[in-house]
Symmetry: C2
Subunit: 385 residues, 2 copies
């Protein structure tokens, strides 16, 4: 399929530097504002140059998108308090434009603009393997997870996982010595699951814990798929140990593929429902893994080449030049007509309407800020009913 619009790396990424405290605060306010997700965040940054200017533009953009009551812009005080709580907790914040931000994560289509972390940040820019799997894993799978995580750990590969019960726990424990990264669904300081509180403490000390959500956030179901994109996004590849059909682990594997990362899977008996997901991954091209050496061999060649471009389109660059206001007003109703609750590719929308890409992207940005559309993986959007 021919691309109708050009995609490029986020413009901010090109000149990596530490943000000033004021800039960092503005970044934090922007991503914590209503209806601002990672894609919108970077589009706003592209259009307005700085987070401060984007913050100023938010109310007007949302209103143009059809928002009746004013959009909630995160107040400076709230962002400051989040930052203070984070520092008091022993954590720090890294923005996507800063040198310490994980390079692999910066290359996904929707990197978190800021991450909170506590622990050893240097682990984030090492070679990382994500290990995911069932919470109700079999004893055999738990043992094998420990063996594999330990084995790759001894080869200086860092293990990333989600701190859940089952496979995640085994993976973290076996890699505490060599380096482990836990990506949590809620706030950095929220112990979840409770039974892993001690392990989480230990990873603060010896590994690294990362969160995208603000301090104190209670993890909810909707946070986990977003969390999973970070687990795979940090890594060269994702190993799926056991996974039943429609499990979160399979979502992580799908995200890994969309991010252009390797997928590894451990096979199992067809009589074991927890092997259905991994067997299916293997059938569809995932690398079959029986022991650590299988992964090390595969990663060896990946380490030597740059990360693959993700399968999903990169973020469309939003030109700093604002399209003509009258044209926006004229085309807005037309774009809305084309949208439905079924996600449609933005490329497709541009093709169907025949309107200029910059105009359509701007209208979509306004609609999103107004809370009228939702973004989906694969550069798709749907209307919010």
């Amino acid at each position: 399929m021919t691309r109708l619009i050009d995609f490029c790396h986020l413009p901010q990424m090109e000149q990596q530097r530490e943000l000033s405290p004021e800039e960092r605060l503005a970044w934090l306010r922007l991503i914590r504002s209503e209806n601002v997700g990672p894609i919108t965040f970077f589009q706003l940054l592209g259009r307005f140059g700085t987070a401060s200017k984007a913050l100023e533009a938010l109310p007007d953009l949302a209103r143009k998108g059809g928002r009746k009551k004013p959009i909630r812009v995160c107040p400076a005080g709230e962002a400051s308090r989040e930052m203070e709580a984070l520092l008091a907790f022993g954590g720090r914040m890294i923005a996507a434009s800063e040198p310490d931000y994980p390079k692999a994560l910066s290359m996904i289509a929707d990197p978190p603009p800021v991450i909170s972390l506590r622990g050893h940040a240097h682990l984030l820019n090492r070679d990382i393997l994500a290990i995911v799997g069932a919470r109700n894993a079999s004893a055999v799978a738990l043992r094998l997870t420990g063996q594999i995580a330990g084995g790759i750990s001894r080869e200086n590969i860092i293990v990333a996982s989600g701190l859940a019960r089952g496979i995640d726990t085994s993976a973290h424990r076996a890699s505490l010595e060599g380096g482990t990264i836990a990506v949590v669904g809620g706030g950095l300081d929220y112990p979840y699951p409770r039974e892993n509180e001690a392990l989480q403490e230990e990873i603060y000390e010896r590994g690294c814990v990362i969160a995208e959500q603000p301090m104190g956030t209670v993890p909810q179901a909707r946070h986990f798929p977003r969390r999973n994109r970070i687990i795979s996004g940090l890594a060269l590849g994702v190993l799926v140990m056991e996974a039943s059909p429609r499990s979160g682990s399979l979502i992580t594997a799908r995200m890994a593929l969309e991010q252009g990362r390797e997928v590894f899977a451990v096979p199992g008996s067809p009589m074991d429902p927890r092997a259905k997901g991994t067997n299916n991954l293997i059938r569809n091209g995932a690398t079959l893994v029986e022991e650590a050496a299988d992964i090390i061999d595969a990663l060896e060649s990946i380490r030597r080449r740059p990360l693959k471009e993700p399968d999903q389109p990169r973020l469309p660059f939003l030109d700093p030049v604002q399209p003509d206001e009258q044209e926006l007003d004229r085309l807005r109703p037309d774009i809305i007509t084309y949208l439905s609750p079924t996600p449609v590719e933005i490329d497709e929308l541009i093709r169907l309407t025949g309107h200029p890409a910059a105009t359509i992207l701007t209208i979509l940005l306004e609609l999103e800020l107004a809370g009228r559309i939702e973004r989906h993986f694969g550069n798709r959007v749907s209307i919010v009913e």
Copy 2:
């Protein structure tokens, strides 16, 4: 690699017809004669036109190849007695040039010139799936074998296996209703293993039992790899259920690949040694199978296309014109010098020596009849120490 000699289908195959009783007896005598294997058999037939003429030529060829004591030519009486015993047992013999001979088997590089069988011969020309696996299979694998064999049986696919304990037994039992073929390593009438005597009887009645060896032959270790090539040779594909490394089932899978047939394998936990073989097959390209539907889908597309040409070279056609005797005498020592106990490809030998293919093939034929060389898969030969 460029082929230096032309390969073609066995010349006899082109005009399929029933052999006369005399011709059949001559075929049987020829394949039962000393040092005559399937490849030599068809080369002799190509050179001399009929089995009777080849029988006459045997002593002279063996002597030229360096044989001191006369080669043992199977006497007519012995072949007649084998045929009579077969008929008395309720069996029949089919030669590779006859219409009832299994078409798929005739396309392998070394089809048995004659097969003995008892039961329903029409099964041999249906769509066949071979199922092989461990004798000491797990209960779970035995159950799954029954499910899969039953499932494909109901789709009018015939199951072929080797009547061994474990997987074979489950595969035959589940396909008795729909059609099952047992290929035995010894004589058609030799019940092996003893515990499957009743099953073997039942397959005589309701399915089909095939043997390459003469009646009464006690199966020996060396018979099984040869038997395995028939199991895979009959089939569109081979399903490996469970297999430890270096097992007979893996040999069958390798033969299937050399014969250009599909290989299907059931995955298992890396912690189960009986899954090592199948997981490895999957890693190397075998189709991962969890249930009958997986195979049926795959076979559906195979059924619509002709059988693939085998990976290993087809038999070199041996021209009816005998190369010059003086040239043979002159080149024989040179060829022998090039041979060693390590198998070498005949193509390679032709390339290395630079001698005409027809001459080399004739010399190899003589050496084989003299018992001085052995043939191996992949059109290779080695010297017998």
